[in-house]
């Protein structure tokens, strides 16, 4: 019996960590944040070399065929380093969407392209989770009209995967009738956009209305990956708080020698450490325990969003004025956690979904 990471998973994490420590100091993140497009192509290529893009793609389609727990380890590490590229869209959600909903020929064509990084994908699921702008996609044969919001990593992508209730489809970002619009969020390490479609050519992934199960599984994958990103970010913040509490002297003592600061740090680690165990199990259940997958994924997203928010707030406060400045750059992590919290449904919505998964609530958002 072993509850935890395998040696291989630990090595994956160490390798990635080492690469990011060497290649992504805060200055590089800051520089990306100042560009219109935050996506950092150099880091993107470096990560491609590390092979993390193919983790979830089966070996038959040119991938490594590894588990969600491997992917979780990667997401967590990327969150820790607030990496300005979209692993979530390109290496988790897009390949899984094709794998779960695509035809055999779509898989054979697209998955190897994703595994090698030769094609990049943006993906939009927000409007099927909680639609706030009354967007709609109307599909007529191989044309689509309508709009979608909060596409992840769409601006620099070759293709977009869009979701309508029960249906997934692909459009080419450069096709006629496709108009992209940038969405600036407070988190300047990631890119979001909206799209308007006017009779744009599209390719269905599978049949119309056949993708319900695929979307449900995608959402679980997203919940786990986003939670992992937040946990990584929160962990990084906690470590900065701990280090600062040792270095910063006020009143002739390190502030970490004041009982109030000590207790805040104790509360943070007490909140944070069990999150990792919850997340590990959620990733494991995704692959191995179908019955529990949704329940644990929803809880992981909800609970980790809440705990990471506590840690973000407490760390910012603990740094005093410094926490509020750009000098230390703490806010990059804080904002990453904030956006993750909202992405594809905040804690209230996730808890509602966890209730639905146990038959404790009807399947309606009203009760959120």
């Amino acid at each position: 019996m072993r509850f935890g990471l395998s040696e291989e998973q630990t090595m994956l994490s160490d390798m990635l960590n080492k690469y990011l420590v060497a290649n992504l100091p805060l200055d590089v993140v800051r520089a990306s944040s100042e560009q219109t497009l935050h996506h950092n192509q150099e880091i993107w290529s470096g990560l491609l070399d590390q092979g993390i893009h193919s983790i979830l793609i089966p070996e038959d389609y040119g991938g490594a065929g590894l588990s969600m727990l491997h992917s979780e380890v990667v997401s967590e590490t990327l969150g820790k380093h607030i990496v300005p590229v979209s692993y979530l869209s390109n290496a988790v959600l897009s390949p899984l969407a094709i794998l779960y909903a695509g035809s055999e020929s779509q898989k054979e064509q697209l998955l190897p392209e994703l595994a090698s990084g030769s094609t990049s994908f943006g993906i939009a699921l927000t409007d099927v989770v909680a639609n706030r702008e009354n967007t709609k996609l109307e599909i007529n044969g191989n044309k689509v009209s309508g709009s979608a919001t909060f596409i992840m990593a769409g601006e620099n992508a070759d293709k977009l995967i869009l979701a309508a209730p029960g249906t997934l489809l692909i459009v080419d970002t450069k096709a006629a009738g496709v108009t992209m619009e940038r969405l600036n969020t407070v988190d300047k390490t990631r890119d979001f956009s909206a799209v308007t479609l006017k009779d744009a050519p599209c390719e269905l992934l599978g049949e119309i209305g056949s993708a319900d199960d695929a979307i449900e599984k995608l959402l679980n994958a997203a919940r786990i990956s986003i939670a992992a990103d937040s946990l990584g970010a929160a962990d990084a913040m906690f470590n900065q708080a701990l280090a600062y509490s040792r270095e910063r002297f006020q009143f002739d003592r390190p502030i970490g020698s004041f009982q109030s600061i000590k207790h805040i740090l104790a509360e943070m680690i007490t909140d944070l450490e069990p999150c990792r165990s919850l997340l590990w199990y959620a990733a494991y259940a995704y692959d191995e325990v179908e019955d529990e997958a949704k329940l644990v994924a929803c809880h992981a997203k909800a609970h980790i969003s809440e705990m990471a928010k506590h840690v973000g707030r407490a760390t910012t406060e603990l740094h005093g004025g410094m926490g509020f400045t750009d000098l230390l750059g703490l806010h990059f992590w804080f904002k990453r956690i904030e956006v993750n919290r909202q992405l594809l449904g905040g804690p209230e919505l996730q808890r509602h979904n966890a209730a639905v998964a146990q038959g404790w609530a009807p399947n309606a958002i009203t009760a959120a």
Binding site: Q259, K262, H263, A266, E273, P274, L278, H303
Partner: protein, 408 residues
């Protein structure tokens, strides 16, 4: 991630399950409230059967009355799981068994081991714990109960509190200041005191639940033979910490909170407020789900700690946080149950209209978890100092003359 224990344990599990289904069915689980009474004869008989089968006192050597098995945390877990799943009566659990016996095994003399362990694990010898004093709670090492050597005896005077089981215990393991001149941690001895000795006065200590599981113990000129010491004179603090280590393990079991969540969920599916089920009220439901999220995190965290232990991996701060998180969680779970029931949640002691489970008693009782074995403030000190390596509190003293540094 490998959540199976492996085939060698499947056989063991089958064996335990068979025992539960055959022998287990023959005995009845007694509904004994914590610390209320001595074990019944039936419980003692059952204990004998369990020791023989190796399902309790498993790792205690045969010569001291145990089963003599080797330590195997997975087997212990399997026993626990199967007993709980089948509703089989568990073995006797008391402080003698969980705290004194491991201490004796670690630092007792051969004579002490031979004399005390067997009757204790059999359930025939009951122990009280004589640690806390009215003036020494968080700062236990400041205890004042005195032991003075006169001839072959320590003569003991003082007062203890929170002495559970004292009203019917045979013996007491007690901390006594025997070297008043030494620094506070080095002046304490750990003694085994016969409760039938003259000079011991027991007064029940009623708690906020209305129960009296605990006692105050007044000690006047009580004579304890000098041979009854465990460890050396002045080393009682170290000996006591062996015991405390075992006590800490008893608090903060994450399984408790899962049961609590299940119980509140059942309650919320039954309880109606003007015709509407509480479960259909999103505000209550969201509170339940919030608690369930934390409960699940703690549950898997428990598995991770278990895994660390099985695989002999070091344990850092992860192990120190369990109690703090689990005890507040229980408190919040019971608090939700009471809120869901409204006025009817305040009914007590089998009053009419009281809901099936004694939720209010559990709610009040949960303070015992939060406070016992080190308050939350002490827990946070431990987590930050031992777990995170932050500086210890300055050893200072405050009196009419202001602050003074006691020790650098």
């Amino acid at each position: 991630m490998e959540l199976n224990y492996g085939p060698e344990y499947d056989d063991f599990r089958a064996e335990v399950r068979h025992f539960c289904e055959t022998e287990g069915k023959k005995t009845k689980s007694g509904a004994l409230r914590m610390g209320e009474n001595r074990p019944s004869q039936a419980a003692i008989d059952w204990q004998g059967q369990l020791i023989e089968a190796g399902y309790t006192a498993r790792t205690i050597p045969k010569e001291y009355g145990g089963y003599g098995g080797t330590a195997d945390i997975v087997k212990s877990l399997i026993i626990q799981e199967e007993f709980v799943a089948s509703g089989t009566r568990s073995g006797i659990q008391n402080q003698g068994i969980s705290m004194l016996v491991p201490t004796l095994l670690e630092v007792g003399t051969e004579e002490q081991k031979l004399k005390y362990i067997k009757p204790t694990i059999n359930g025939e010898m009951i122990w009280a714990q004589g640690y806390s004093e009215p003036g020494s709670g968080s700062d236990l090492a400041s205890l004042k109960t005195k032991g003075v050597v006169e001839g072959d005896n320590f003569v003991i005077n003082g007062q203890k509190i929170w002495t559970s089981s004292a009203q019917y215990a045979d013996m007491c393991f007690i901390l006594v200041r025997t070297e008043p001149e030494a620094p506070k941690h080095h002046g304490i001895s750990y003694l085994l005191m016969d409760m039938k000795t003259t000079g011991i006065d027991i007064k029940p200590l009623v708690t906020m639940t209305g129960d009296a599981f605990f006692n105050e113990m007044f000690i006047s000129d009580v004579k304890v033979p000098v041979t009854s010491i465990v460890g050396q004179r002045g080393e009682g603090w170290r000996v006591a910490n062996v015991t405390l280590k075992y006590e800490r393990g008893m608090i903060g079991n994450p399984g408790m909170s899962a049961m609590g969540i299940r119980g509140v969920a059942d309650l919320m599916e039954e309880e109606t407020i003007s015709g509407i089920r509480a479960m259909d009220m999103p505000v209550y439901r969201d509170r339940l789900l919030k608690l369930q999220g934390r409960s699940l995190a703690n549950k898997y965290h428990g598995l991770r700690l278990l895994s660390n232990e099985i695989n002999k991996e070091g344990m850092g701060v992860e192990g120190l946080i369990v109690k703090l998180s689990a005890t507040y969680l229980s408190h919040e779970i019971y608090s939700l149950a009471v809120d869901v029931m409204g006025e009817f949640g305040t009914l007590y002691d089998g009053s009419a209209y009281q809901r099936q489970k004694d939720w209010m008693r559990q709610y009040l009782g949960s303070f015992m978890g939060i406070i016992g074995g080190g308050t939350s403030q002490i827990q946070k000190n431990v987590i930050s100092e031992r777990g995170l390596g932050l500086p210890r509190e300055p050893l200072v003293k405050l009196d009419q003359n202001g602050w003074e540094l006691i020790k650098k």
